[in-house]
Symmetry: C2
Subunit: 191 residues, 2 copies
Amino acid sequence: MTGQTVGEGPLAKNKRDIDLKVKQDELESTAARLFLSLGYDGTSMSHIARELGVAPNTLYWYYASKDELLVAVLNRQMSHTLVRLPAIVDKPLKEKMAWALREFEQSRELVTTVHARLEQSAVIREWHDQFHRFVEAAVIHTLQADGVAQERATMLATVGTFLVEGLLAHPHSERQREAILQWFTESALPA
Amino acid sequence: MTGQTVGEGPLAKNKRDIDLKVKQDELESTAARLFLSLGYDGTSMSHIARELGVAPNTLYWYYASKDELLVAVLNRQMSHTLVRLPAIVDKPLKEKMAWALREFEQSRELVTTVHARLEQSAVIREWHDQFHRFVEAAVIHTLQADGVAQERATMLATVGTFLVEGLLAHPHSERQREAILQWFTESALPA
DNA sequence: GGGTTTCTTGTATAGCATTCAAGAGCAAAG
DNA sequence: CTTTGCTCTTGAATGCTATACAAGAAACCC
């Protein structure tokens, strides 16, 4: 009942918890691989389960729904990206955007899926909103550091986000991408 | 066999054709209404059929698949929009973009759906690509008329499209929209 | 009338996300 | 050692989906 500090006590419970994390990780990495290659709709829960060698409904012990599994996968991808974030924090805006594009390009499939499921799934909507708040805050911070006034920075952060999303959703050449990022950053930042 | 000009001849065949068009129109308007209110995934073929008082598989005589029905609905919305297009052709860029936003806002659901189904449906992909070519050509034309060089106009057309799509996909205030359009048009157009 | 074309339907299939109740395996408690 | 309880897995079922196929009805042509 009462929370008590576990000293040298029973490790058994711990071992169980570790197993849970391990299984979850295996599950999410399999789901991620299939979601990214076959798409969310193209990947059935049964397919994931088959790949793992378990019964389809076993997945529902770990995640309440397919959407919650997707959220877990999204967080997984995000945490992998966050590891590489420090490497570019002091690069200029344009390079930051190019980096974000390369990062999310691998999850291109999922970006569209999230947007498509916004209306139908509350849990996805929640994740999406939180994600956007995080990204926009980061971009605003960067812009302000470059001397952009707060109100203007807020607007430009939204624009930058839309551009990244557009580039992710639509195929384009390296030249197009370069031209867009170049134009945006030089139009956005003070001379 | 040989194509022959129908004079005063048999109207029967004509009558059939008219009936077909009428039924198609009724079908597509019902589908449009449901798609827009419940979403594409949220609207089953059975639901549409029930609304029309026919058997579910009847729809498959008119359209080969649900995606092809969606394409028909998209063309329907487009043609309704095209009717109102002449009214704004000589307005400035900013007003054109605001108009496009208002037009597509009613089909917001469908914009996301089209993007989500790009990978899975060839017929949707085809429609989408054609639509984008059309829109971008129109925007490029406008920009060039405002004195923007061709290469730059091409890039800006893509940016403008991404901004419109972003504004459609994400909820925002009237002030935000105004600020983004204002900034974009004044950054894009030569002083 | 017969034959052909256009449209509608009953019936069926394979797949989907998800639920539920029953179990297996193991840890701790008596 | 046995009983209790927790964690995890499963078989089986439900109601839904898009769609296929073949049989029928109705309108047309000759």
